[in-house]
């Protein structure tokens, strides 16, 4: 009997709650352009005009409207493609606000590109390096990097992509990670971490400590190859670290400690862990000593 009365179709109510016509600009955004056409022609219109002049006025309206629409199209094209690049150099961290209130904290040696004028239509950015995002609820927010893409709808998460590594940690909300080459997808909830290596792997119950403590002021390494640890330290202090060829750079170590003020303290801690010694050659450059070096403790210069 229910089928005969015009009641609901499959999941109709839930669906239409979430639908909207696909207009690129909202009424408010279009108002400004419309307003300009008004002052150009509207104020001077006299209702007592003869029909003939009204027609020519109408034609002029059309031309102005057409011109306005052309300018609109040209403007919106430049709006769409105007790019802002935020580069966080080595030795620094930066936090920026995006036009919708979302914030991004960039770690050392990271770069974010986005289109600020097009932000209200589509929130898309390009990231190389590492950044922590806090995204305002709203339309889809996409961050593309060379090897992966992360899509979110209001949440906070960390993306770390250096060299051929792509890692995403979800802190709150839900995040979708896409491997660009293989097309593999994964959905992350808080505490989950996605790693893209040869394939996309998801780990659960990862603490925020490891993924996001860089923001709190800690070096946090969990079973990381020595190569990555040293690269991270080099980026953070903007120094160069030279290594002898015979050292095994893929050996893994774990460490968690506050950012020391000086780089050599950091190297001392890692060195104790990983079993290496080093010398400081200049303000900005360090050299790891070969494995069987006789020097016991390096001298501070």
């Amino acid at each position: 009997m229910r089928d005969q009365t015009p009641t609901e179709l499959p999941d109709e109510q839930n669906l239409f709650k979430r639908l909207k016509p696909p207009f690129e600009q909202s009424g408010e955004e279009l108002w400004d352009k419309l307003e300009k056409s008004l002052t150009a022609n509207g104020d001077t219109v006299d209702s007592s005009q003869t029909p003939g002049s009204r027609r020519s006025l109408r034609r002029r309206f059309r031309l102005v409207a057409a011109a306005a629409i052309l300018i609109l199209a040209g403007l919106s094209l430049s709006f769409r493609f105007y790019t802002k690049t935020i580069t966080c150099p080595k030795g620094q961290m930066m936090t920026i606000s995006l036009p919708d209130g979302s914030t991004v904290t960039l770690n050392a040696d990271s770069r974010l590109e986005y289109h600020p004028l097009w932000w209200w239509a589509s929130r898309t950015a390009h990231l190389e390096g590492e950044a922590f995002f806090e995204v305002e609820k709203g339309s889809r927010f996409s961050i593309h990097s060379e090897i992966g893409t992360t899509n979110v709808l209001g949440t906070s998460f960390n993306i770390s992509t250096r060299n051929s590594r792509y890692e995403v940690y979800c802190q709150t909300g839900k995040v979708e990670v896409v491997a660009r080459q293989s097309g593999e997808k994964a959905i992350l909830r808080p505490g989950m971490l996605a790693k893209l290596d040869t394939s996309l792997v998801v780990q659960e119950h990862v603490s925020a400590r490891e993924a996001t403590d860089w923001r709190a002021g800690y070096f946090s390494f969990k079973a990381r190859p020595l190569k990555e640890i040293l690269e991270e330290i080099a980026r953070h202090y903007d120094i160069s670290i030279k290594v002898e060829a015979d050292r095994d750079m893929s050996a893994q170590f774990s460490a968690h400690f506050r950012f020391p003020v000086s780089p050599d303290s950091a190297l001392m801690i890692i060195g104790a862990n990983a079993g290496f010694q080093y010398i400081q050659e200049s303000d900005q450059s360090f050299q790891l000593l070969p494995q069987n070096s006789p020097t016991l403790f390096p001298e501070k210069k």
Binding site: G27, N41, S48, L153, G173
Partner: protein
């Protein structure tokens, strides 16, 4: 609230009389116009979209409607403003079809944007949305417009009737037809 603002407008003097700049009450102020714009622009644009399935055309025509409204400001009765706006939109739509053959009679699908809370919801509703988009495109324009004004704009049948200049019974009939067709389309492809 809007209606009160409009009711106060007096009729314009007949053609042939010169108007004095001091009698400004016959002119619509920009503020009143903006209030009207804020209230109805989205609806008019959506109405045009429900008919044509063309987002750019709908946006252009909707702006033209309001431009025309501004142009007419001193010379019409604002008794049924929303009815007037819809009528103007209809007239512009028809003349744009005739003029440029822009809107195609046959719609492939009526695209809609899906706003979901999270990626799982997107996944959940994506396919259903696809089915509805195709099904909606097969509806006759009259039925589709009424259906979408009801489901997307959440307007009552009474309100739809007032805007489109129909009786409530006529709206009910079109809704019933639309639902019947949609049910058939969705069941066939379910």
């Amino acid at each position: 609230m809007l209606q009160n603002g409009w009711k106060g407008l007096p009729q314009s003097p007949s053609a042939g009389h010169t108007s004095h700049p001091q009698t400004s009450c016959k002119n619509l102020t920009k503020q009143q116009f903006k209030v009207c714009y804020d209230q109805y622009f989205d609806s008019i644009r959506s109405y045009l979209y429900f008919r044509s399935g063309n987002a750019e055309l709908s946006t252009d025509l909707a702006q033209e409607v309001f431009l025309k409204l501004w142009e007419k400001k001193g010379s019409f009765e604002a008794r049924n403003l929303k009815g007037l706006l819809y009528k103007m939109a209809n007239d512009l739509f028809i003349s744009s079809i005739r003029r440029e053959k822009v809107a195609t009679k046959y719609l492939d699908r009526l695209k809609l944007d899906l706003y979901a809370e999270n990626p799982e919801e997107v996944f959940q509703y994506q396919e259903l949305k696809d089915q509805y988009e195709k099904a909606l495109a097969t509806l006759p324009e009259k039925q589709r417009v009424v259906y979408l004004m009801s489901r997307l704009e959440a307007l009552t049948y009474k309100e739809i009737a007032a805007r489109l200049g129909l009786s409530v019974k006529a709206v009910e009939k079109r809704m019933g037809q639309a639902l019947g067709r949609l049910r058939k389309q969705l069941n066939d492809h379910a």
